[in-house]
Structures are given as C-alpha cells and as structure tokens.
Symmetry: C2
Subunit: 446 residues, 2 copies
Amino acid sequence: MTRHLHLNLFIYPDGHHEAAWRHPDSETDRILDISYYQELAQKAEAAKFDAVFFADGPSLAENIRYAARFRLEPITVMTAIVAATERIGVIGTASTTYTEPYNLARQLSALDHLSKGRAGWNIVTTGAADAALNFGLDAHPLHRDRYARAEEYVDVITKLWDSWEDDAVVADRESGLFADTDKIHRVDHDGEYFSVRGPLNAPRSPQGRPVYVQAGSSEDGRAFAARWAEAIFTAHQTLGSAQEFYADIKQRAQAGGRDPRGLKVLPGISPFIGSTAQEAEDLHQQLNDLTQPEYSLAQLLRLTGVDLSSYDLDGPFPREVIDTDGERSEGSRFQLVLDIVEREDPTLRQLCHRLAGARGHRVVTGTPDQVADTIQQWAENGAADGFNVMPPWLPGGIDVFIEEVVPILRRRGLFREEYTGSTLRDHLGLVRPDSQYAPTPQKETA
Amino acid sequence: MTRHLHLNLFIYPDGHHEAAWRHPDSETDRILDISYYQELAQKAEAAKFDAVFFADGPSLAENIRYAARFRLEPITVMTAIVAATERIGVIGTASTTYTEPYNLARQLSALDHLSKGRAGWNIVTTGAADAALNFGLDAHPLHRDRYARAEEYVDVITKLWDSWEDDAVVADRESGLFADTDKIHRVDHDGEYFSVRGPLNAPRSPQGRPVYVQAGSSEDGRAFAARWAEAIFTAHQTLGSAQEFYADIKQRAQAGGRDPRGLKVLPGISPFIGSTAQEAEDLHQQLNDLTQPEYSLAQLLRLTGVDLSSYDLDGPFPREVIDTDGERSEGSRFQLVLDIVEREDPTLRQLCHRLAGARGHRVVTGTPDQVADTIQQWAENGAADGFNVMPPWLPGGIDVFIEEVVPILRRRGLFREEYTGSTLRDHLGLVRPDSQYAPTPQKETA
C-alpha cells in the first residue's frame, strides 16, 4: 500500500513542552532570532514536510513568568521563512474575532504571492478571553457569537480573494490596458458583522485562495470545519477519539456536498524519542521534572475556568469544582481535559504533567519504530490523513524525528521521498479553487 | 563641509511615473515577484541608502485599468526584503484609521525583531475616501477626526512598544524565571478612540520603537509631525516651499521641547537623468507621451474632488470649479495642485503631465551633475535633511541614479561611503528611546 501522509512541523519558539526552554539542548538564546526559525523550516523542507505551522493569540499569556510564551506575530515570521525556502508551505494562525477581513485578506494574499503559492491560514476565533481587553471590548464574545462572526468573515474574505479573476491583469503596453476591469469585481458584502465593498487591491494570488486550515473541534468548530476547512488540526488522546472525529468530520463534509478527500485531518503528535523505550521515558520525565506548578495551574485555569492553586498537587483532581454547563465547556479542549480525568484518574500534578508536553495533544514516548507504529496505526485506521508534529523541544526534537522516524515512514511507503508540486495545495492534494466571479468554465456548460 | 544626507529608495511596483509600466525598459512582468523587490533593495543597500520606502492604501485605485496601481501589502513585502538584506532599513505605510493598534504594534515589533532593528513606520490617516467602504463605515472620517484618532493611536502603540522594559527577559534556566513580570507593564489606556489593556505579547524590539515617519504636510499633519515624527516625507515643487516647511516643522518641534535634529525632513524627488539635459527632457517627454488622460483625470479627481473629464484637455485649467473651502482643501496635496496652477497657468493636459511623474513631488530633469546640484542646493539651504528618491521607472531609474548621481554626491562630501551603524535609527542619526515604564536612569537622578 502506498499512502502519502502529510506532515507539518508545528513550531513553538523553544518547543511544545512548557519547560522546553530550560532543557540544556534548547536554544533559548536564539528564539527571537529569525535565522533560528528559518533553519527549522529549512530542515522540515529538506525532509519534504508539507508545511510549517504557527499558533497565535493577540494577548500575553499570564504565565510568561515561567515559560517562553511570547508570540512573534506569524505573518511576519512566515514571510521571513518563505524568503529562505523554496517549496515548503507555511500555515499561520489569525483570528476572525480580532482582525478586519480586508486587512487579513491583503496580507495573506501578499504572502501567497511572495511565496508563489505556499500560504495557509489557520482560522481561529481566539480562545483567550483577555484578548478582548486589547481591542476595546468589555468582554470576549461568546463562543457561538465568535463562530457566527467567523462564518461571515470567511465568506467575506473568500469573496475578496475571488474578486480579481485569474486573468484580470492584461499589462498590454501597446494599448495601455493594465487590468481588465470587467474581471475585477466589487464584493458588495453587507451582513450582520461586516460591510465590505471591495474589490481587493491586488491581483488574485497563485493558489487562488490560501489553504483554509481550522483548529477547533467543538460542535460549532466541527460544523465550521465541515463547511470551510481544507485541513483540520485537532487534538486527540486516543485512537478511538481520533477515529470518531475523523469519521464525523468527513461525513459532515460529504453531507454538505463536499468531496471528503478535500478535507485533511491532521491530529497533533508530540514525540519523545529515545533509542530505547526507557530512554524516551527518561527524556519525558526529565522535562516534566523541569515544569513549574505556577505555570501548569495557570494553563489549567485557562482550559477549565477554575483556579486550582489552592488544591493539593498530589491529591486527586477535584473534578467537582468544574462547571460542565458553563460557557467554557463549549471549547473542545475543556472536554479533552475532562476525558483525561475520567480515563486516568490522575492527581492534580499528574494532570499537569499530562498537559505539559503538548497542551492536550497526543504525546508519544518510545523508540523511532514505536513512534512510527503509532503514526501508521492512526493513518491506516481512519484516524488521520497526516500529523502536525509538535517537537517537545527545539531544535533537537525535530532533528531526531527527521533523522530517525521519517526514514521508517518512507520505508513503509507512508511518506513522500520528494515533493511532486510547488504549492501548498499541491503538497496537500487540494484543488485550486476557481473564482466565484469567473464565468462558468466551457467544459461544464458544453 | 561634510554633511551626511539621508537617501531612501521609494519603491512603486513599476516606478513612480504613471506610465512607467509601458516603458520598454520597465520589468512589468516581474512586479508580482518578490525577487524583483529584493533586488531593488539590495541595490539600494549596496549604495548605502538609509532605507527603502513603501506607500500603501487599503482600497483599489479606480484607475487600475490604466496603470499598475495595485498594492502589495507592505509589512509582508518589507519582511521579505529584510530577509534578503543585512543593513538597509525598511519603512512601510500603515493607516491609523483602518488598523487596530494592538495588531499593528505586534507586526511592526516583529519586523523590528526579524530585521535586528531596521523597521520604520510611515504613519498615515489614509487619504482615499473609498477605503471606508471596505471597513464597514458609511463614510471616510473627516480629516480632523482622522488626525484626532491618529494622535491617540500613536500614544497607544507607543505604550505597547514600551510595555516590556528592555531587560524584562531573564531566561534563567536554573531558577525557572523566564521573564521578570515586574518589568512587563499593562498600558491600561482608556481614551476616546481606543481602550487597550496590554501589555504587548512579545519582548521590546531592538530599536525600542520602529522609526516614526510621517507624510502629511497639512496644518493637522504638521502639528502631528512636530509631536511624533522622526522623519517626514514631504512634497515640494520649489526650494522656497521646501524651506518654509523645513523651518516651520523644525521650529514647531523645538517649541514642543524636542531637539529639532531628531526630526529629519525628506522631500520626495523624482529624477529624469540623461547624459545631456536634452536627453533627460526627451526621456521625460517619452514617458509623458505614454500617459492616458483617463488615468490622469481620475488622479486629479482624487486630489481636487472635481471631475474634470468634460473639460478640454488643451484648454486652461478651470480653476473656478475648485472648492477651496471644502473638506478636500485640508489635504496638503490639494494646495500643491493649486500652487502649480497659480504659478504655471497650465492647460489641463500640462497639469496632468506635471503630476504624472510623481503625483506632486519635485521632478528634476537633467544631467547627473544637474540633479546633484539640485540635491545639494536643497540640502545646503535649509530645505532638506535628505530625500525620498522616487525613480520614474524601475529598475533603470534607480540604476542610473546610483551609478551616476550618488558618486557625485560622495565626491562633494554629501553622502556616506559606508554604513556606520546597524539599525535604521543609526543610519538616520536618531536616538533609541527608553521605555516610558523604565525607571529613570541613574545618570539623570545622580
């Protein structure tokens, strides 16, 4: 069986484990240096990864005191990366709640032009409530309202990206016609959240539209993804959970009239790799030993809405204090934390350690073969079309994955030896969309 | 006399003359290719220019039909340029009317980090009224209201850039202290236009703040520039007008308690260069012959608010139809057009040609020595600290300036042979500002 997995490198400054910056092999002194990020992307490109991936949020994490949780703005970082690479895609997070569609449309269109078709947009509604206070709002909009705005936002931005037909630029020196304005369209959107006339002020980009990526797995998130997403970044602790999600989201896409192959499911995976299983466990333990409860509890507060700092770290998790009916419970990560508690009955400290590696994404600890086995198992059993690889620390955590695990995946026929196309859509096997304003192609009307 | 001028290369896709894209030596087929812009910046860097400069506006020019007047979004373009250069600064335009300060603060901070201190922000309130329709507004805010918002915007964004003291990042692996949160400050701004809690979500950038550039010369614009600007891009047709502006703006800065040397005045200059004066005139005429009245009249409509398309192109300019008391008259370019009409009594076509080269900036036509003479005259007579060089067409128009004019300026002791610093502030001779939240330095309290 030849099956081509998709692999993204999800870059956090020092790595995904919350104590990564304290690891002796991390390069904490370089995490504000763009050459560090360019080198990581170049490594991923040499390994033929589909893309590098960046999270984002427009506020400062409270626990910056204990970890390298600042945010370098992703559009700038991605642009610097495409300037230093040739083929690999870049996927960056931007919020539909805290940006204007005309501005974001311009920036992602420019990134797609500059990269010759390698841009992807991870569409989020922003989870961190305190972002509201940086944008003149008294309160973060409710989960459902954020998704309602997101729906309209993606509709508007899609119109803007379609507003120039592909052949609108004529540039005929002789006649003096630069652009055929019959092929440039106002979008005249007038909705509940946005009123945007358009057109965009730049020609259509190489991919037509950047790749639409989405990362929410709540009910609202699934409905949104089934309608819009071309790739989904999702968090699952177990094969069963991932399979349920995979089947559900593909079915929803199909029910909405989409080809389910046009929607790639990419769970996060954070691999601790050792030459023996014990060595991998030791590495994991070494990082967990460097965690700080103040950081972990602040993260739990963000996920669950409850301040647990007065509870005994080595006592059982106080599940009775969690409000399972509140606004917070609509987020997909809330449920994931509760599932771990149900399944594993951890102490508070054990739960902190469970979440320290990858904030609820699947952590795999083992030899290269064992890590490859998990990847293969998920890929061949309806749980994943690929993975967002989240190295516990950087750069070593991606080096060992590329050197030890990728060759095994190739030997098993699971991962490409070479790129076969030049755009991110090519890598992911996604079609290039026509502009909604373009005349119906001949082949369909003939 | 040794005097160091500042020179920026102001990049328009095909060049500043509105018919540049039709010039046989322009590279119209490359104006969506980032390597084209990177090469232009590399040429300017090899010539030791201070910076490259980008205009912007968040709407599509009506006259896209007749000229290459799309807008590639500047923050992305600048980022791709700093990734391909080492020393030259980048100055990009962003609107205080149509962006959110928290978002722009993040992007310009990231650009300053990625470039190791080479970022500048050209602060504009946006002149094109139809931008409003892309952002959910029924009408473009009035000139004075845009400036009121700009004042508060710059206050807020400055607080955000200052919100991390320079030494807030500790990154002590041993103790586990990543950032000293006593040195990270909420900004708690609550004003008429903005309510922003902060802090920014990334460490302070190499320059502390990007260089503040401003480009309006109206009464509101001058007051704003005197308070905030560290460099001013301004349009003047005559030495006298430039001298008046230069003296006025330096005096205003001084009256406001600033060192006037901390505010550099950089008029635009668009040079048509030939080996003889006649050759330069012919080149200018060749480009003017390629202009299209539909484009020029649309530009005049934007500058004056009046549709002149029903008037005889070869008749006198119909000055009686211009409303000199309206909202439009508060813009500095409006006055500049009227001044040309008063001084030169042109036909409508002649006025179109006068504005075709550089939209009202000074056009100089002559031999390399004659162009250098004008630059020297303005620099030595209180009219300019440097220039924003606006090549009529690209890349040839900057090649000839660098090859023929820059060596003359160097021989005359007017322009640097080498960079002496590494940041844009270094190039411009500007101090690096302390954070307003930092304790008063010892030297001041001792």
